[in-house]
């Protein structure tokens, strides 16, 4: 059995332990499990409804900018700067899109892996970036939507700084560990 199957079956069991274990413990502690479930589930529904306006705003803004070619343009402008700094410019489109759209980032990673080969330095660096950063704007929209927050103060700054360090460290660490 390879690791992928192993990890998939491990997370399946973890999932089932949650799904089965929580109601069982609740029942043993004399909770009306189904009633409690329904009350909580209703709350889940209400949170999603509260998020929708935030999600529409962010997804439309990012979708428009992507369709216009904005990310490619910025990558094009920045690439000499990053090249001078020793950051592979081929990875720039990925690093720029990553905080805005997880799906788009996945697409670019797949493209890099297919163009340069799955075992290339660039593919490994991009994959490491994928794992060490997050779709910051999606998280911001959804999380602050759930709390009905309009003024996010420094949350975006902290999130983007974390992404920036993740991106830089991905290249640095890949340099340390990668062997062709």
């Amino acid at each position: 059995m390879d690791w992928q199957m192993l990890s998939a079956s491990a997370s399946n069991w973890l999932f089932l332990i949650f799904i089965g274990g929580i109601p069982l413990i609740g029942f043993l502690r004399k909770v009306n499990v189904f009633e409690s479930f329904v009350i909580g589930a209703k709350e889940g529904f209400e949170i999603v409804v509260r998020i929708i306006p935030y999600l529409v705003g962010i997804v439309v803004g990012v979708g428009m900018f992507r369709a216009a070619g904005g990310f490619d343009l910025i990558a094009h402008w920045l690439s000499p700067v990053f090249h001078a700094l020793g950051f592979p410019p081929e990875l720039l489109p990925f690093a720029l899109v990553r905080p805005f759209s997880g799906t788009a980032a996945k697409g670019i990673l797949a493209e890099i892996a297919h163009t340069y080969g799955g075992h290339s330095f660039l593919a490994h660096a991009a994959a490491t970036m994928m794992g060490s950063t997050e779709t910051t704007f999606y998280v911001i929209a959804v999380y602050f939507g759930a709390a009905s927050i309009r003024k996010t103060r420094y949350a975006i700054g902290a999130g983007l700084l974390a992404d920036l360090v993740g991106v830089i460290m991905a290249v640095v660490v890949t340099h340390w560990f990668y062997s062709p």
């Binding site: 909580g40 705003g57 900018f65």
Partner: protein, 205 residues
Amino acid sequence: MLNIIWLGLVLGSIIIGAINGTIPAVVNAVTDSAASAVVLALGLIGIMALWLGLMRIAEDAGLIRGLSKLISPVLRFLFPQIPRDHPVFGAMTLNISANVLGLANAATPFGLKAMEELSKLNKTPGTASDSMCMFVAINTGSVQLIPATAIAILASAGDPSPTSIIIPVLIATACATTTGILSAKWFSKMPFFKIKPEHQVRETK
């Protein structure tokens, strides 16, 4: 911040679209994106209802309170404003553990539940509290033991050893998350980000 970025995205795409000749694509993107945002939200409803239902059972069984008691000494230094043993620590712990284990489906519901609890503690409705910013910063750091998506993409491109990125990802993600936490702590002390009193008056009215 979000105001400026959002305005920049919208106006920027119109200007760039006009220069690049991609206006038709931009126009299509508006309606397509609006529709896909709702599809995204609809997809969330089922999984949110399921996990928050389970979480409610765990709450009523006293499990969340127990977990909060257990974990609050650890998380307290990150969230000094939250009262001791508050149940929000339970939701946060579940969110962080689900993230670490790569259970993205469960992480979001727990995270949103935690944000809702934090908003009950927030004295300035509409404006993010320090605890909220810290919690979001931790979430954007994305600590993950096994970066399953990235590994799958490498494997599908013919990489014989895609799992060799696990250790590099752990190191990079630890640096990113530490940066998120430290910068949130640091920003929270900057006068520029102090919540101004007029916010409080206007928002709570």
